[in-house]
């Protein structure tokens, strides 16, 4: 984290420059290799996009943009639409961010600020790294067996009891659905949220902070009216990067979302997400239109993720002046 500047230092030549320079400059060789590698990545990206769009063409030509607003997903009749999956992707990601944002920001402030219990900082940083390193299928397994019964028997009934007047918390909870999937996403994006926010908060110039304190502001006032406004853009970037992660998360969400192609106002209801549909159905998707529809979903997902990621990176770069290291 935050070592962007260190990574930019040119790597030391592999062999003694003095002897090599007479024939071919080591720098030239390195430059050529680096250029080839960079060009290869561009090529791979281009091939990837083409390879994604071509198989999607049967579905794109058949359903057009109507695909985006159609709720039907009927392999028997060969009628496909992405609306329920787009809705599920947006709702679960939004829930994940709504939960992860306040917790992540508070934790980042705690880690970045001078004040605070120093003793806790080490273990906390370690816990974040640990959380970031857990494979999503393990989180999914945990969620499937441990979290869903808790949601069904405790959390959902409580929400239904206290906030049941809202359509969001109506219906009988099964433990699976938007809310549980959103919670799982919150757990998965928290490390990114915390690590990136901590870095941008640390990048706030020390002079600003000290000036505020010297003027008699309390710590809380300094955070609220100096640090957060200054770091706002960077934190927005952190949120968007977290969103990018949440949008594409597949296996853990698939295990708890319920995999039902429906749109429901209740967060207790089961739904579907774009990655889940693809993961579930690709093995037996026979026929150009069916398989094409799955690729079409892939195109939509890639477009959404690219836009979110580019936006995020621009914001974070503008603020810290260095490349963010995604957790």
């Amino acid at each position: 984290m935050g070592k962007g500047t260190a990574e930019r230092v040119a790597p030391a030549p592999l062999v003694g420059i003095g002897r090599q320079r007479r024939l071919i400059s080591g720098d030239d060789v390195f430059h050529a290799i680096a250029f080839a590698a960079a060009a290869l990545i561009l090529l791979v990206a281009a091939v990837f996009v083409i390879a994604l769009v071509i198989p999607a063409l049967p579905a794109i030509t058949r359903f057009g943009l109507g695909f985006l607003v159609s709720r039907s997903w009927d392999p028997v009749q060969s009628q496909f639409g992405a609306l329920a999956a787009i809705y599920g992707t947006v709702v679960t990601s939004a829930i994940g961010l709504l939960i992860a944002f306040p917790i992540g920001l508070a934790a980042a402030l705690f880690l970045a600020e001078e004040s605070g219990v120093r003793l806790l900082r080490g273990p906390l940083s370690f816990a974040i790294e640990l959380l970031a390193g857990i494979p999503s299928v393990v989180i999914g397994l945990w969620a499937f067996f441990i979290l869903t019964p808790i949601m069904r028997d405790t959390v959902d009934p409580f929400l239904n009891h206290t906030l049941g007047f809202l359509p969001l918390f109506q219906g009988s909870p099964s433990g699976y659905g938007y809310l549980t999937a959103g919670l799982v996403l919150a757990i998965m994006v928290l490390p990114i949220m915390i690590a990136l926010s901590r870095d941008v908060i640390r990048a706030v110039p020390r002079a600003l902070r000290e000036a505020s304190l010297a003027l008699g502001a309390t710590n809380a006032e300094t955070i609220w009216s100096v640090i957060l406004p200054y770091a706002r853009v960077g934190i927005t970037g952190a949120v968007l990067l977290s969103l990018g992660r949440a949008l594409g998360e597949t296996i853990a969400v698939t295990m708890v979302i319920g995999n039902r192609n429906e749109i429901s106002s209740s967060l207790f209801a089961s739904g579907y997400t774009l990655p889940s549909v693809i993961a579930n159905e690709f093995t037996e998707a026979v026929g150009n239109v069916y398989l094409g529809s799955l690729f079409y979903l892939g195109v939509i997902l890639v477009l959404i993720t690219i836009v979110v990621n580019v936006l995020a990176r621009l914001l974070v770069w503008r603020f810290t002046g260095s490349e963010p290291t995604a957790a």
Binding site: S72, W73, D74, P75, V76, Q77, F144, F145, T148, P149, R152, S172, S174, G175, Y176, T254, G258, N259, R260, N261, S270, S276, N280, E281, T283, E284, A285, V286, G287
Partner: protein, 368 residues
């Protein structure tokens, strides 16, 4: 999950194969007393359906024990992918829970270009999670099963369910339907059954490896559906018999076409299959079969090879292996809770295998 669940019986099958050499040789195949021909040395590859994979894995291992010159590889990549790989001739045989559709056969050069044989037979259970209702206590009829999956019957205390189960205390609880989220032959057979017994299902939903479900949550694989049912009070779903038996789930008695309530079993699947003498790759449905013991939600699994083989040695080994699969090899299916092919189907399979040729001459040479 899946691998874990099937590991034990597979192991049992392997042990049996290892120490039962003599009993294997003396066991009588379903038709005649023909012994499997000795194949030439070859390495065969196949790909396709996951449902019969435990059987194919046990069978190919046992075949290699018997004829060490032949190795067979099988990849359970899904029926659709298996058909595609056979179309591209990447594999020597394909496997699917549903025989080739016209469009799929056309891509391989038309129906005469492909030989399809039934390799094994499976049946499905309706498993449930209801406190106080033990295994086999719940009775379901075609009407109530269709009603539940069409979302007409939404509570366990529904009068229609109570009428069939007067001695069972059914709770006033929501029914939580669980179905497959991935495309599967299991779903095909189940929706084939629902389309057969309910005209409303046939017109509203239809049959297929994936369908637009009127209700319920999806879970991936038989193992996934089994876990979801075990996890969720009030849940109900269709699961392969083997998974129900291996995970000790509670399953319902199903009313078959003759009006008898039967607990799904491998023997029930064989009984159902033997009712249909004219079963072929284009007329393969055996759901809701007549007969007092017939398990109502049953279906065949299929293997497919090209009629004209390009390599004589490989082609010979291939038909020899497939011949063994439908005769002596059936015992490994039974060990894993698949049903034995009925004798009429074994006869059909052997007749089909005899049409596989190299350069115009048949590759299979058995005396029967």
């Amino acid at each position: 999950m899946k691998r874990m669940l099937v590991a034990l019986p597979v192991l049992a099958g392997l042990l049996l194969a290892a120490c039962g050499g003599t009993s294997t040789a003396t066991s009588t195949p379903a038709t005649g007393g023909s012994t499997a021909p000795t194949p030439p040395a070859a390495s065969l590859t196949g790909a396709g359906a996951t449902f019969p994979q435990p059987f194919y894995d046990a069978a190919r291992f046992a075949y290699n024990q018997k004829f060490s010159q032949v190795t067979v590889n099988y990849q359970g990549v899904g029926s659709g992918a298996g058909i595609q790989q056979l179309t591209k001739k990447v594999v020597d045989f394909g496997a699917s829970d549903v025989p080739l559709k016209d469009s799929e056969a056309a891509a391989m050069g038309g129906r005469p270009a492909v030989v399809q044989i039934a390799s094994t037979l499976g049946t499905e259970s309706i498993a449930y999670n209801l406190q106080g209702v033990a295994d086999g206590q719940l009775k379901l009829t075609p009407d109530t099963i269709a009603g539940i999956f069409l979302h007409h019957i939404t509570k366990w205390s529904d009068p229609a369910l109570k009428a069939d189960n007067p001695s069972v205390t059914l709770p006033d609880q929501d029914i939580r339907v669980v179905h497959r989220s991935d495309g599967s032959g299991t779903t095909y057979i189940f929706t084939d059954y629902l389309s057969t017994v309910s005209s409303e299902w046939a017109s509203k939903v239809g049959k297929g490896k994936s369908v637009s479900w009127p209700t319920g949550d999806g879970a991936s694989g038989n193992g996934g559906v089994a876990s979801r049912i075990t996890q969720t009070p009030g849940a109900i779903g269709y699961v392969e018999l083997a998974y129900v038996l291996q995970t000790h789930m509670t399953q319902a008695m199903l009313k078959n076409s003759d009006g008898n309530f039967v607990l799904p079993s491998a023997a029930g699947a064989t009984a159902a299959a033997s009712q249909y003498l004219g079963t072929s790759p284009t007329n393969f449905s055996i759901v809701d079969a007549p007969g007092k013991d017939s398990a109502p939600i049953s279906g065949y699994s299929w293997l497919m090879v090209y009629t004209n083989q390009q390599d004589k040695t490989k082609g010979t080994a291939l038909v020899d292996f497939l011949y063994w699969i439908v005769t002596d090899g059936q015992q490994y299916a039974v060990n894993l809770h698949y049903a034995h092919l009925p004798s009429n189907m074994v006869t059909n399979d052997i007749a089909a295998l005899k049409t596989v040729t190299y350069g115009g001459s048949a590759l299979l040479s058995v005396s029967s």
